[in-house]
Subunit: 301 residues, 2 copies
């Protein structure tokens, strides 16, 4: 089964467990709205790819790890889109949860998805309790205090922000959780897989900053210019577009190099290279090179 | 160690794990604000009492179960108090989290506390992975979809509400999780302890409805008259104050009877009786009897 299909099937399976019962219909509908249709599903794909590279000897647990990471990501998007944060109207090209269902249900949808992530792990981990303990810790560390994505978002509420700590927590933490959980689901030591998650997480954040500035609302599926509007730290603002692009490339090279020795090292590296092209296509480089050239001409005029 | 002290010590211990590290200071401060000082800590006390009745052979795990239940409860209070729900200014006699720290941090505080509940379980359950799997399921079922407190709150966003289902989920679910988790932490089958959680949960909701109508803001630590103001279902509204009191008494009697055979059955029953007096003191009965008598006189005048 192709990886994307495997993730959608696993997500549907775990939704069926709560749908079969007596949940409030609008809550369920809002939770589905937050998860389907998905974006690139980059985090669960990364998690599954690492699990496969590590042997994937417990596929249901690998699926559950990938699903739990994606549910945490979706929960954070729902809460981040709410009026007290970004007040966004669209996400993944469709209307946001709070715009469609109201703020109370959006708040509960995020909470429900966080809990569902653990329900998914507990259900799949019954036969592998020791791996489950590790997975619960890894996923929790990627989300909660002190260094997870919730903490990352909370750095925006501080007057003094350590930029690298903010970026590592806001985006990197869940990428690290994705690679480490993939290894742990397959019963493998996660430590050598940390660096891949760290490099990809930072690269993803830089790519997001670049696209936010370049105004590619269509490919982002959400409003652009948000970083400047909310005064958030941004690599594109700090380094300029050309500098940010060069930094992105450096991070992706580091990601490729970091892939540890395993059965499918080359395939994994190929996957990272494809992700690099998806995140910042060649056309963006050309666009920016033209932009830099035009700026140079204007400066010399 | 007295039970209340044991709970506060365990809460402090688990906060020390995230405080020692590099979390955003205001997020940590807001999370502490949501948890300390506590209310009656009725759910974690119930959890610990059941664990003790079942032998309490893994005290650190019992503590973690109690702490995780309390953190879930605190998270739900923070989110329920936010402007899109109750818009409450006070809770447990102090200013609410969103009033003190702003809405963004209140939202993140709730999220952070939910995740922390699982971090606490994972930390304590490393030596007892099989019990941990059960605890994760039990606590999650008490909070998430389809029947946990998040679902209970979400029933308020439906046009058609099944009243008993709403009340069971909104309050009962976490009481059931508390009794079942107490048993599971001690390695005991939780099924016989369900009924106690169900009866106490419903009794607690009825007592809350009664106090909301009687206007005991001081003993509630939060604004009164909220049920009528928000058009929420209420036993006091449905049955009248005298009827609600009688129903409360019936539920507490059922709770006492439901305590399964165990080493400390009588002590457990005594605890339930004390809780009954704390929830609705004798003075409330006398107050309502006077009220009924005066209403009778007026009706006959």
């Amino acid at each position: 089964m192709r990886m994307q299909q495997r993730i959608e099937t696993a997500l549907e399976l775990h939704f069926s467990h709560i749908q079969a019962m007596s949940a409030p219909p609008r809550l369920l509908s809002a939770m589905r709205h937050a998860v389907f249709p998905g974006g690139a599903r980059i985090r669960p794909q990364l998690c599954l790819a690492v699990a496969q590279a590590c042997g994937d000897d417990a596929p249901a647990l690998s699926d559950a790890a990938a699903v739990s990471i994606e549910l945490m990501h979706c929960a954070s998007l729902v809460h981040d889109d709410m009026p007290c944060f970004d007040d966004a109207d669209t996400r993944r090209g469709q209307i946001t949860v709070h715009k469609q269902y109201g703020e109370p249900l959006a708040l509960l949808t995020g909470d429900g998805l966080i809990v569902m992530a653990y329900q998914v792990l507990a259900r799949a981990g019954r036969m592998q309790p020791t791996r489950l303990v590790d997975l619960i810790s890894t996923v929790s560390d990627g989300v909660g205090a002190p260094d997870g994505i919730v903490a990352g978002q909370a750095w925006e509420c501080e007057t003094k922000v350590a930029l690298s700590q903010y970026q590592r927590a806001k985006t990197g933490a869940l990428f690290v959780a994705a690679t480490c959980a993939g290894a742990q689901a397959a019963g493998v030591d996660p430590a050598p897989w940390r660096a891949l998650g760290e490099a990809l997480g930072e690269a993803y954040q830089v790519a997001d900053d670049i696209r936010d500035v370049m105004g590619q609302a269509e490919s982002l599926g959400k409003p652009v210019g948000q970083d400047a509007q909310h005064g958030r730290p941004s690599a594109a603002a700090d380094l300029g577009l050309a500098g940010a692009l060069s930094y992105f490339q450096k991070l992706m090279d580091a990601a490729v190099e970091s892939v540890p020795a395993c059965a499918h090292r080359q395939a994994m590296q190929q996957l990272v290279r494809m992700e690099s092209e998806r995140l910042v296509p060649q056309s963006a480089y050309e666009h920016i090179q033209r932009h830099v050239a035009v700026s140079g001409l204007k400066a010399n005029a």
